[in-house]
């Protein structure tokens, strides 16, 4: 019985070794491989920068608002170009302005058009959706306001008055689009 068990064990080992040799035989079969380049994921861009603002008088001449003193009849226009950068296949954004201080002159003596934004398509409001333009990563949005000191001002009303337009902020915010979450 002892010999029988020994024989059986030896046979089992032999069968296992044969199986292992048979497995090694699969390495001899054909195989092939290929490489792929999934590409690079590139992020878009969103930014807004402001150029220096320009004040002009009624004749269109540029003035220095830090030294210029207005009198009744004066009409000043402020213009500032904003460079809006929008890059991305699903990029869309809106731009809004804030922190426009209230007028400090006598209301009846001045006509002030609220600071507004425009582009080549017209007025840009908080509901306007800006999208990337073909051929350029940037587009221009113009901020402008008009201050008129009415010539109907009487007496010495609003002499030596000051209206500080403060720090106006322009915020560009990405809008969610179909395919974004």
């Amino acid at each position: 019985m002892k010999n029988s068990t020994l024989i059986k064990g030896t046979a089992a080992i032999a069968v296992g070794a044969a199986l292992l040799l048979g497995g090694g035989g699969t390495l001899a079969n054909w195989n092939a491989e290929a490489a792929a380049a999934p590409g690079t994921i590139v992020a878009g861009d969103l930014n807004v920068t402001a150029a220096a603002g320009v004040w002009t008088d009624r004749t269109g001449a540029t003035i220095n608002i830090n030294t210029y003193k207005v009198v009744p009849g004066d009409k000043l226009t402020y213009t500032q170009a904003l460079t809006v950068t929008l890059v991305g296949d699903k990029m869309a954004a809106s731009v809004v302005l804030a922190n426009v201080p209230a007028n400090t002159f006598t209301a009846d003596n001045v006509a002030i058009s609220p600071l507004k934004l425009t582009n080549t398509a017209g007025d840009v409001t908080s509901n306007t959706v800006l999208k990337p333009v073909n051929g350029s990563a940037t587009q221009t949005v113009t901020a402008s306001t008009v201050f008129e000191f009415k010539s109907t001002t009487t007496g010495r009303s609003d002499v030596a008055k000051n209206y500080d337009l403060g720090n106006v902020s322009y915020t560009l915010t990405q809008l969610t689009q179909t395919g974004l979450s």
Binding site: L46, N47, V48, T49, A50, G53, W55, D57, R58, I63, I65, N66, T67, Y68, K69, V70, V71, P72, G73, D74, L76, Y78, Q80, L82, A93, N99, F105, A143, T145, F147, F149, S151, R156, D158, V159, A160, K161, N162, Y163, D164, L165, G166, N167, V168, S169, Y170, T171, L172, T173, Q174, L175, T176, S181
Partner: protein, 201 residues
């Protein structure tokens, strides 16, 4: 039952908070950029018209710091008598700090002549005026005319420019000698106004 309701309420609150957080976080997840600009301050000019008496050199602004109209004594030169008028004058200077054009016109109104201390001299006094280009012209009797109802206008006075009004007080030859030593107060209102920006004065 009470424990079950508490657990249900807690779960509901947690779900609401989670939903709220997710909603808020969602809006911040998108890009945004901000820039700011300081357009500056719009400042109005002063309306300073300086008056200088020709004879005394006394100077004042037409409008005082408290907003009231100034009074300038012209102190006529000489002693008034029949055939010997006296002269005075005022130089008005446009001292505005306006950034652009600021033309003005000054108008001398009709005089008011008032007796002093119960005298009767006023009815024998006449006041005439003229525009001049130098203070020395005031002592030249030529060119004086009565001031009309509309007053006597100066030429256009531009920024930093000035104009001169001369005044002459004359005593009627019919004045009796009893008026000797009497005095009158003569008041001459001066008004400065800005000319139209696009038009003339």
């Amino acid at each position: 039952m009470r424990i079950k309701r508490s657990l249900q309420a807690a779960a509901l609150i947690a779900a609401a908070v989670l939903l709220g957080l997710l909603t808020v976080q969602g809006s911040y997840a998108l890009w945004n950029a901000t820039t700011s600009a300081a357009p500056g301050s719009v400042s109005s000019a002063s309306f300073d018209m300086a008056m200088t008496a020709v004879n005394s050199g006394q100077t004042t602004n037409m409008t005082l710091a408290n907003g009231t109209a100034a009074t300038l004594t012209l102190s006529p030169a000489g002693t008034l008598g029949p055939g010997t008028p006296v002269y005075g004058g005022v130089q008005v200077t446009n001292n505005t700090n306006a950034g652009g054009q600021f033309n003005t016109v000054i108008t001398a109104g009709q005089p008011t002549i008032a007796n002093v201390s119960g005298g009767t001299l006023a009815s024998y006094i006449s006041v005439t005026a003229k525009r001049a280009t130098s203070t020395a012209d005031c002592s030249n009797s030529a060119g004086y005319v009565a001031i009309g109802a509309g007053g006597l206008d100066s030429p256009t006075v531009a920024k930093n420019g000035s104009t001169i009004f001369c005044f002459q007080a004359s005593l009627s030859s019919a004045a009796p000698t009893s008026l000797k030593g009497q005095a009158v107060n003569i008041t001459l209102p001066l008004t400065a106004r800005q000319c139209g920006v696009s038009g003339g004065c």
